[in-house]
């Protein structure tokens, strides 16, 4: 079993890159190999042109890392945790104050970490990553399991950081909105391989069609005769949800044909939606599965 296989990826300085994929796609393995926490069986990883071997101390001082769910020592205070990590980087207390300000935990700086909420704990983990003003920031699912408000708070902190610092960031996520909001380039991974990459617009336009029609048929959708239509790019039917998804060249030409067929065959179309393609659709069209199960 290989978690990551035959993968070739170049990340430019200052780039914000998202590794997007479902659970088990190999995102964490890839990031932890970059972080030097896992060793690859073959191949090479270079960071700022340097391999891990022989440059551990320097590279560790240049990276800022947030692991997938780190828990802290229950009875240490927020500020004490930051001071502890600051001491590993030989950073002084004024930077700790700055970071507490950045991660918006000033009123929680004396709280025990056990009493922090999930979002506050993730912000503390992010704060630890930002302490050493890293050249490269590696965040492994920084917002997984958080409510929308807490997620937006983390996004704000990262956008603010992006504006002020020349930092490269690699972020893993299975939220497409997170990838598209924060990152310049999106790498879609599945089963240890890169299946698509590029900017958001690039990804959506280069891959097949742009427009989507979805509906819930009241009868057998096969009788609609859609599969022989000239405008059809891709047809998919999710029998569990009884949902038809059509990838079409143009909604304007496709829709009248579908309406007509529906009337002739006597098959109703519930919940009819027409929209442009999202990353989620792209993932389905590439893999046949949904991004978030």
């Amino acid at each position: 079993m290989r978690a990551v296989d035959g993968l070739d990826l170049n990340i430019r300085e200052g780039e914000f890159l998202a590794l997007l994929g479902p659970n088990g796609a190999g995102k964490t393995t890839l990031v932890e190999m970059v972080e030097g926490l896992q060793k690859q069986d073959s191949g090479e990883i270079r960071i700022m042109g340097l391999p891990w071997k022989g440059h551990e101390v320097y590279l560790r001082s240049q990276l800022g890392i947030s692991l997938q769910e780190t828990r802290f020592i229950d009875k240490l205070r927020t500020r004490e945790i930051l001071e502890l990590f600051a001491s590993f980087h030989h950073i002084d207390g004024s930077r700790v104050d700055q970071v507490i300000e950045m991660i918006r935990l000033k009123d929680k700086s004396r709280a025990f970490t056990v009493n922090l909420s999930g979002g506050q704990r993730q912000r503390l983990a992010l704060g630890i990553a930002l302490l050493n003003e890293p050249s490269i920031l590696l965040l492994d699912e920084p917002t997984t399991g958080l409510d929308p408000n807490s997620r937006h708070e983390i996004w704000d902190i990262l956008m603010e950081f992006k504006r002020n610092q020349m930092t490269t960031m690699i972020l893993t996520t299975h939220y497409m909105d997170e990838a598209s909001f924060l990152c310049d380039r999106i790498v879609i991974m599945d089963q240890g391989k890169i299946i698509a990459q590029g900017g958001l617009d690039e990804l959506l336009s280069q891959n097949q069609s742009d427009e989507i029609i979805e509906f819930f048929p009241s009868g057998d959708p096969g009788k609609l005769g859609i599969e022989s239509m000239p405008w059809l790019k891709k047809y998919s039917f999710d029998s569990d949800r009884n949902k038809v998804t059509l990838f079409v060249t143009e909604i304007l030409t496709a829709l009248p044909d579908i309406m007509k067929q529906s009337e002739v065959r006597g098959i109703g179309m519930g919940g009819l939606t027409c929209r442009t393609m999202t990353l989620d659709d792209l993932f389905i069209s590439l893999t046949g599965r949904r991004l978030v199960e």
Partner: protein
């Protein structure tokens, strides 16, 4: 603001946890002190306890000697009928102290039941011309009661020559003098194994260790912080236990203080090494708890913390004597109550230190940082 030293920050973690978790404070300080207090009291005031024996009276023909003996005993009617009526008599001896006996009136079946339950060690049956004693010959307490009672009943004076008895109640010979060094070394073992192993395993399972290793933190500093913090905590724990024992039980250290410090340090090295070794791989705290128990529990029982291991079969004693806790306990006791000096404890101290260093090196080689 000044830069903070990473070793000091790492050591501070342990102190902060120690002070802020009431549970830790209880187990490491209040528990050993109260154990010393309870056991010390329970075993040192033994001469004031009342021993119970079962008495089967002959309703028709009374035994003269027995009746004479019981004539000045206090007869107590058990008003709530929770137990049998009884006679209570105290045999006073200026050198042996007081021994009180309670004679529970019952029949043979009742007497056997009391014996099985451990309420009595001895059954007295009255015959017109004699008193018969029923007891288990391998039970030393029963034998003791038989010797004392049979002679007391016969002539109402203790037959043994009290002139030949010289009570040894000076310091160093009491149970508490035996117990306190035992409790102290057990405290060191528990404090280090739970404090180091459990903390390491927890940090690994929380992925905190992984996170710390991903910084430029020095791994040696990380491990040294555990040793330094735990050593100082065991010193505090031992000091509190000893202060209590000095004040309350007036124990004294007969041997040399440097020898005690030497063996204390060696024990710390030994158990720190063992702690690092057993926590070098696992990230599962339940497996960790099991591993710690596998080490601590047999030694707590075998190494003579509470009672001398010389009661174990002769064949296993040489094995027991080579357990690290036994070595530390024996040497500490020899300083406390036998007046040993550095020369007498240095071999054990050397073995313990080497054991700790070897365990530490093996543990470090196999240590799973992430």
């Amino acid at each position: 603001m000044m830069k903070r030293n990473s070793l000091i920050q790492l050591i501070l973690i342990h102190y902060r946890e120690f002070i802020r978790e009431p549970g830790i404070l209880f187990w490491s300080i209040i528990f050993p002190v109260s154990m010393a207090w309870v056991l010390g009291i329970a075993f040192s005031k033994q001469n004031e306890t009342v021993q119970q024996v079962a008495l089967i009276e002959d309703p028709i023909a009374q035994n003269k000697e027995l009746r004479q003996f019981l004539s000045d005993a206090e007869y107590v009617n058990n008003p709530e009928k929770e137990g049998p009526d009884y006679y209570e008599k105290t045999i006073q001896n200026e050198k042996l102290g007081k021994t009180s006996y309670r004679f529970l009136e019952t029949d043979m079946d009742g007497g056997l039941l009391l014996l099985k339950r451990g309420q009595v060690n001895l059954i007295l049956k009255e015959y017109p011309d004699s008193v018969v004693y029923f007891f288990d010959p391998v039970n030393p307490q029963a034998k003791m009661a038989y010797v004392m009672l049979s002679s007391a009943i016969k002539n109402e004076h203790l037959v043994y020559e009290t002139a030949s008895i010289s009570p040894l109640t000076q310091r160093g010979n009491r149970y508490i003098d035996f117990l306190i060094p035992g409790l102290m070394v057990m405290g060191v073992m528990n404090s280090l194994l739970w404090g180091i192993s459990y903390a390491l395993i927890e940090m690994r399972s929380k992925k905190l260790m992984r996170r710390m290793v991903a910084t430029p933190m020095k791994r040696s500093e990380f491990l040294i912080s555990f040793f330094v913090a735990r050593l100082s905590i065991t010193i505090i724990e031992a000091t509190l236990l000893l202060s209590f024992a000095f004040v309350y039980f007036h124990i004294s250290i007969q041997g040399s203080i440097p020898a005690m410090i030497l063996i204390f340090l060696a024990g710390n090295i030994a158990f720190s090494g063992i702690a690092i070794l057993i926590s070098s791989r696992t990230a599962n705290s339940r497996i960790g708890t099991g591993l710690i128990n596998v080490i601590t529990l047999p030694m707590t029982i075998l190494s003579g913390v509470f009672f001398s291991y010389h009661n174990f079969p002769d064949k296993v004693i040489p094995v027991i004597q080579k357990l690290p806790l036994t070595m530390m306990a024996d040497s500490t006791r020899s300083v406390f109550i036998e007046g040993a000096g550095i020369a007498q404890v240095s071999l054990n101290a050397l073995i313990l230190s080497l054991l700790g260093i070897i365990c530490f090196i093996i543990g470090l080689r196999t240590f799973k940082w992430y």
